[in-house]
Amino acid sequence: MVIEIRDITKTYQTGDVALQVLKGITFTINDGELCAIMGPSGSGKSTLMNILGCLDTPTSGEYLLDGENVAEFDETRLARVRNRKIGFVFQSFNLIKRTSALDQVQLPLLYAGVDEKERHKRATAALAAVGLGDRMDHKPNQLSGGQQQRVAIARSLVATPSLILADEPTGNLDSRSSVEVMDIFQRLNAQLGITVVFVTHEPDIAEYTHRIIRVRDGYLGADERVPHTKSAADELASRSEPIQIHATA
């Protein structure tokens, strides 16, 4: 999925005070990219992500998804885009309380009107893919932070979206869980060709991508290629097991 934003601004009006968070950002992310958005706190990264995820609307500027202007979508169309085209992963996981992992992951499919058998099959596969095949009946309060984030990722990918957006997906995770999340993103990108865009402010996490977009004070700071993209799978293999891994896929 091709993302194109042109001169996006966003102003929050609080009483008499107007706060401009985004001051005109333009970039294009092509189909199949794995891309990190970096920037210090308050630079407008999250606002940008919410706009990209069709959760928020820009004050001015254009957002084109596969060439179509999102501003012209009505509420139902937006819901459908969020449901089928975009998978969103939040920093705070945003799982629904008292609901099992399997039910959480099935939810997007429920809203998409997928029949029960296929829902179950896909949700099971998605959870197994993120390593929670044995925790499907667990509720959020029975899972660690890393596991909750993996449930959220399974939920974002279960409908096979063209785009996964993640707002600081590793922000609340330890370094090993973070690398695991990167591993999943790299796999989704490589195996399923899903465009993955995520926000981070950890430079070493950004090195698992092909491209880094830097945001500073609401402006586009820099847009650079990553010269040597790290493999999360290799990193995990070298860290944990005292054994040598010979085979690669």
């Binding site: 959760l55 819901a79 969020r82 089928r84 939040f90 997007p108 296929e118 896929a249």
Partner: protein, 464 residues
């Protein structure tokens, strides 16, 4: 924070992953998951045509789950509906019982009975305090003449009074009916022991009395009282017999009364109002048995004609009224319907208050679950999906409340019926109450549900 001390778990070395040559690395690393599973997700799912939407059964189950996660709150919210529905079901059951009782009482006498009462008497034939009782014993005697009223088979005038009955050491208070022997025929009322009053009692002014079944039991237990003497308001009466039990309870029951000759009752037990006037001995009412069911109309006309002449009716406003059973049943039903409407209005107010309670709690629920709504919208729930979820929840509260109300209403009707008075539960009232309660839930659920559905996803997600 309290810390619990647990025994250290035995240290088990993690299983050494075995490398299967030629397989993917992932399969050797359990924690990162089974990436081969992604192959199952390589294609998008089969979306339902027409844009999907959550099936109602799913909304139903998730609402049930959500309600059961806070039983106390759900129960309290339901309470208004439960009380309202239980009240409707019980009140209607009691009302139906009263109407049926009235109908049975009237039809038990046969369907060819005509009643004459003073014009300003109420439905039960009891004159209002300021009325002059226009009917007399002499009117009844005139009606007995076959030439005046050929379609009348039997005429039974009656005087109603009350008095203290004493038999030995036993005493009770009971209605006293001053009647003629024809009373037995008109009301199909027979003695089981001894006899009812006989013609000689009237002609010779014999102080004899027939006891209603309840009075007999109260004063004499299981003994046969025939031939014994009781004192009624200080006068001695010889007991002629005991009447059959007719059933029924309360003031109107014939079982709890005694029957004495009319002329004696008129002379000894009536107040000034009912004492003989210039035109004769005043009576409270006259019941007439028509010769046949078909001749009821003719008999009524004959009675009216005769009384109009005797009472010198002017301007077409007679001082008496002639009714038959159909009229009486109708009057009783009308009376009951008015009361029922009144009671239903009260019960509806309870349902309405219950509905407002539902709306209140649904608004609280929407606020509490703002973040959840945001999450659902972020992963693709449409306005319609959220709307359905909350409406289903509101309707479920009222529907469950209504069903519990029906259970309580039906059981209390059965209890009332077993201990106090007859009740008839009509299926229509149950269906009506449940439907009305559900409609209330729907009505009061829509506003909170719309509020939830219209939340902007980003604002809902930011809500703390």
């Amino acid at each position: 924070m309290a810390q619990t001390v647990t025994a250290p778990a035995p240290i088990v070395p993690p299983p050494v992953p075995t490398i299967v040559p030629g397989k993917r690395v992932d399969e050797n690393r359990k924690i990162a998951g089974d990436m081969t599973q992604l192959d199952l997700l390589s294609e998008p799912p089969h979306f339902r045509k027409g844009g999907g939407g959550v099936p109602l059964s799913e909304s139903f189950m998730s609402s049930l789950y959500s309600l059961s996660s806070n039983i106390l709150r759900t129960g309290l919210t339901m309470l208004g509906i439960i009380i309202g529905v239980a009240a409707v079901v019980t009140l209607l059951a009691i009302g139906n019982g009263v109407v049926a009782d009235a109908r049975d009482k009237v039809t038990a006498n046969g369907t060819n009975i005509i009643s004459i009462s003073a014009a300003n008497a109420n439905a039960n034939g009891i004159p209002t305090p300021d009325s002059t009782n226009s009917l007399t014993y002499e009117d009844a005697l005139a009606l007995q003449d076959p030439q005046n009223c050929p379609d009348c088979a039997a005429i039974s005038p009656e005087i109603r009074a009350g008095g203290t009955l004493i038999a030995g050491s036993a005493r009770t208070f009971a209605p006293i009916y001053g009647v003629l022997p024809s009373y037995a025929e008109v009301h199909s009322y027979n003695a089981v022991v001894g006899t009812f009053l006989v013609d000689e009692d009237i002609t010779s002014n014999v102080q004899s009395v027939a006891l209603g079944a309840t009075v007999a039991t109260t004063l004499f237990g299981e003994d046969d009282p025939t031939g014994k003497t009781i004192r009624i308001n200080g006068n001695s009466f010889k007991i002629a017999g005991v009447m059959e039990a007719k059933g029924g309870t309360g003031f109107g029951s014939r079982d709890n009364a005694v029957y004495v000759p009319l002329p004696i009752a008129s002379a000894k037990f009536t107040g000034n109002r009912q004492r003989s006037t210039g035109s004769g001995k005043s009576v409270n009412g006259i019941d007439i048995k028509a010769a046949s069911t078909e001749s009821v109309g003719k008999a009524m006309a004959e009675v009216s004609d005769l009384l109009n002449i005797r009472h010198r009716t002017r301007n077409n406003t007679p001082d008496f009224q002639v009714t038959n059973q159909a009229d009486q049943i109708k009057a009783a039903e009308e009376n009951q319907r008015t009361q029922q409407i009144f009671l239903l209005v009260i019960a509806s107010v309870s349902l309405l208050v219950g509905g407002i309670g539902i709306m209140n709690i649904m608004l609280v629920s929407v606020t509490e679950r703002t973040r959840e709504i945001g999450i659902r919208k972020a992963i693709g729930a449409k306005e319609r999906d959220i709307l359905t979820q909350f409406i289903v929840e509101a309707v479920l509260i009222s529907l469950l409340g209504a069903l519990i109300g029906v259970i309580i209403g039906v059981s209390s009707s059965l209890i009332v019926s077993a201990t106090w008075k007859r009740t008839i539960i009509s299926p229509e009232s149950v269906v009506l109450a449940v439907a009305f309660a559900t409609a209330i839930g729907l009505f009061f659920g829509v506003f909170p549900a719309q509020r939830a559905a219209r939340l902007r996803p980003i604002e809902a997600l930011r809500y703390e």
